[in-house]
Symmetry: C2
Subunit: 144 residues, 2 copies
């Protein structure tokens, strides 16, 4: 089952190589923690705080590209975990049908927060439970 | 007039904030030098040396997205210069028509080298001349 979640916080560390993104359940308090690279974390963070972007950056380009080709961004899905790596999809509506494109969760979330309003974020429920277990021993899964 | 060019070299410096990309005329020796950020330079460089990418990175996602939506990447164009900043377009064929999407030259070049074979790179001739002039006083234009 897919559970709607929202971006809860972004933790950017200058010491650690991996940055942290926490998603929280929309109608509850279960979390999903994902570790991502500094470029993706910064890209998400500057969008969330609506920092001015004088030129379209890579995730803006991705959103513009979809729109220019007649597609409409629908939502993102974080739907599987393999070898401690999360996998996501970006869902696009085009010409009456729906296309899911594989992406890293970090790219999918950056695309979600580039859109106004932010795209719905859906997470497979079994991943949320896995994540809670892992958080207890302060580990998590890697997005790279 | 648009002139066909190819990627000549990428100079990555750990000291400077800006990285350098040199394009060279396909049928000549005129050059165009563009300064870009480290993320974009690394993204281009790892594609050129065909470094393994275990997961689709942002520019791979962009190429996959275009293909998933039924588009076909055609070429990239670097076609204007304003306030020392170059502007580019990514040209896509879809449903019998052609769409040009605005992009930074660094994103456009990263998309070009992600495709197999590399997409044709077209540069407006007046920019090449400008660039040669500027190179003499060791300055150049910024992509950011």
């Amino acid at each position: 089952m897919l559970v709607p979640m929202t971006l809860h916080r972004i933790i950017i560390s200058e010491i650690l190589e991996q940055q942290t993104i926490d998603l929280v359940e929309k109608d509850g308090d279960r979390k999903l923690r994902i570790f991502i690279g500094i470029f993706e974390a910064t890209s998400i963070e500057r969008r969330v705080r609506k920092a001015p972007r004088p030129r379209p950056l890579t995730h803006d380009l991705l959103v513009n590209m979809v729109q220019s080709l007649g597609g409409e961004l629908d939502s993102i899905l974080i739907d599987s975990l393999e070898n401690r790596t999360y996998f996501a999809k970006i869902r696009v509506r085009i010409g009456g049908s729906t296309v899911d494109v594989d992406a890293r969760p970090s790219d999918a979330i950056a695309v979600a927060v580039t859109c106004q309003p932010t795209l719905p974020i859906w997470v497979e429920e079994s991943l949320i439970e896995d994540s809670l277990d892992e958080e207890e021993d302060t580990e998590g899964s890697d997005d790279d």
